[in-house]
Amino acid sequence: MTTAEETRMSGLTAEGFAALQKFRAGEPAWLAESRKRAWDLYQKLPMPTRRDEEWRRVDLRALRLSDIAPFAESIGKVTSLSALTGPVKSRVDLGPHAAGTLIQHNSEDIYESLDEDLRKQGVVWCGFDRAAREHEDLVRKYYGSIRPATDGKFVALHYAFQSGGTFLYVPAGVHVDVPLRSLVFADAPGAGLFPHTLIILERDASLSYFEERTSERPASGAGRQNLVSSAAEIHMADGAQIRFMSLQDFDTETFNFTSEKTIGRERAQVAWLTAELGGRLNKGNIDCDLTGKGGRCELLGLYYINGRQQSDIVTLLTHKAPHTEGNILYKGVCDDYARSGFRGRIVVETAAAQTQSFLADHTMLLSDKARSDSVPTLEIEANDVICKHAATIGEISAEELFYLKSRGIPEVLARKMIVLGFYEEVLKGVPAAALQERVRRALQIKFELHQEDSPGE
């Protein structure tokens, strides 16, 4: 086995890739081949620059790919949640209560559980690496099918170095009402993380899902960059429903690239919220295709960034069939020197008559040094369509602030209420109270930490 020192030195380079291949010797041949193809592709694809429209506001100059280890040292599995200790345990304890839990610690899946009833009904829920071995037919069929490596430089990087992630299969007509929960926890400074999420919902299946990604940097790891490049692929058959909430809370030395896509067929219903709080850079590509009649998609997002954090979201909702309904709603808050970009696009293809779709993004700037850009686009090729967009950038309303203060609420608390209240409309878009509450708490904690760090307020 490769030693930690070797991998640390190798970086996301040819040597690093060779080290990973060695580390993962014994994985299915098709996966190893897919890795190799992705690595070749990665090397061919140019690094995005600010001349590329979707990367115009993203600063990659500080990213040192050669300093990032292709995987982290193995820690070992745990057999029960009570065996967890330290920060991983505290994270798990924050909830929400779940019908199944998967924990990935750095590069490896360390714990998995699933409610026995769901297992009997045929639900499959396990770490991605195990699924690749044990559910090869399904994984091979769907892996990389809607988010192929060709989608971009960092997507190719993901497929080359993929390790960890989740696999979920819900058979026809089965309902997963209590959420399944996936936690990715990173505490290996300098490591790259490449989790892959693959979710397959068969006809009329339904799912409530919570995904959390977080890191705690040991003091000794200060100054080392981490990189996460993840992908998610969600396949929804006719009549399937998903309530999906993800919470990203990496430390501010992590560069986070996500590339996620859902395909919903007839009458599929998607309520999908992405909450981004952490990361030095968060670059997200979040897409949904509605390919069948009567599909619905709520594509929701929120972010709260401060310090020198950067967030850049590109989201695309494509209506490919008639009578579909869509709604993109993003709300973000930037404080200090934070910068955000939002590029939302709705495409209504010729076939998608009698579709209605809305695109809105609203940003609140809490400091005069914070910046935000928004580019909403609608492309409508069908007739008989209702499609609208709206975008606003503002600050905390002085009148709202005065009103709350006039009732005895101190300014810091009043500001917090207004900022947290700003997100409520988005949170309410995923009708799952426990998940809403979990994200609400994460926002609250981040806001309070920031206030404690800012004695001037």
Binding site: F402, S406, R407, P410, L413, M417, L420, R441, Q444
Partner: protein, 275 residues
């Protein structure tokens, strides 16, 4: 000592003097009405007392329960027991009436210290934390008060003033007053935009509170509210000054005769343009 003592107060907005020397004392158990034509400075006075940053006090003194009110930030004024019912209360999307008011009550109980508690489990824990009121306990108090103001229970969970009708906003202002139990309430045109039933409900709400623990300064353009909230004294504000005062029936006289005779009697110039 009166609860509120205003002494020769001058207030400017964007460099223009609007209040040009007002002195007024209001005590608990008392209702004072402040009437005057549009642009006379009624709302300026109420905002200045509440501490709105747009209003600059250029001279004068205001004591609240003997303390210097003007030295306090707006939230401290409120916690000390001053309440302003806004003519046009702001909407705060995402913040429910219940959460907002509980936070206000707890802020008062905490003496303005910022405690980390506003939602969910935190709010429940707050009940076990010293003198903070828990979400459950508070909801009970809130619902009782909502009933007396004919507000449906779901208002507790609606976003503050967001999409409320004019009448609902005014009722919710009075609800806040009932829950926060101020020692002195300033009601700024609380009657505007209310139909007669809503006005009665609001007036009853005020009347229930005025007494040994609260006094009120009722600002109004019309006399009709004063049929339901009976003031002991009616003051007339014109051109930034209190020009005259009368007993409870003075309001009716003003309604009947208008303000021009007062202008003539006290030698006040007719404004060139309406404010």
């Amino acid at each position: 000592m009166a609860t509120l003592e205003i002494e020769d107060l001058h207030v400017s907005v964007e460099g223009k003097e609007i209040i040009k020397g007002i002195s007024l004392q209001v005590s608990k158990n008392e209702v004072h009405a402040l009437m005057g034509p549009n642009g006379s400075g009624k709302s300026t006075l109420s905002f200045a007392l509440a501490g709105h940053p747009k209003y600059t006090i250029t001279s004068g003194k205001v004591l609240f329960k003997g303390e210097d009110l003007l030295a306090m930030p707006p939230d401290e004024r409120a916690r000390a027991g001053l309440f302003l019912a806004f003519q046009y209360p702001a909407a705060v999307p995402g913040v429910t009436v219940g959460n907002f008011l509980r936070t206000a009550v707890n802020a008062k109980r905490a003496g303005g210290k910022v405690l980390k508690a506003i939602t969910g489990k935190d709010a429940e824990a707050a009940g076990k934390n010293g003198n903070q009121i828990s979400a459950r306990e508070f909801l009970k108090i809130l619902k009782e008060n909502m009933r007396t103001l004919s507000l449906k229970e779901d208002f507790a969970f609606r976003y503050l003033n967001d999409g409320f009708s004019g009448g609902e906003k005014k009722r919710v202002e009075i609800l806040q007053m009932a829950v926060l139990k101020p020692e002195l309430a300033i009601l700024d045109e609380t009657d505007s935009g209310l139909d007669i039933d809503a006005m009665k409900t609001v007036a009853e709400g005020v009347n229930r509170l005025v007494g040994p623990s609260m006094g009120a300064l009722v600002i109004t353009h019309y006399q009709r509210l004063l049929n339901y909230i009976r003031p002991q004294i009616v003051h007339v504000l014109m051109e930034g000054k209190l020009v005259t005062s009368g007993g409870p029936d003075f309001a009716q006289e003003l309604e009947a005769r208008g303000y021009d005779w007062i202008r003539q009697k006290f030698g006040i110039a007719t404004p060139v343009a309406a404010a």
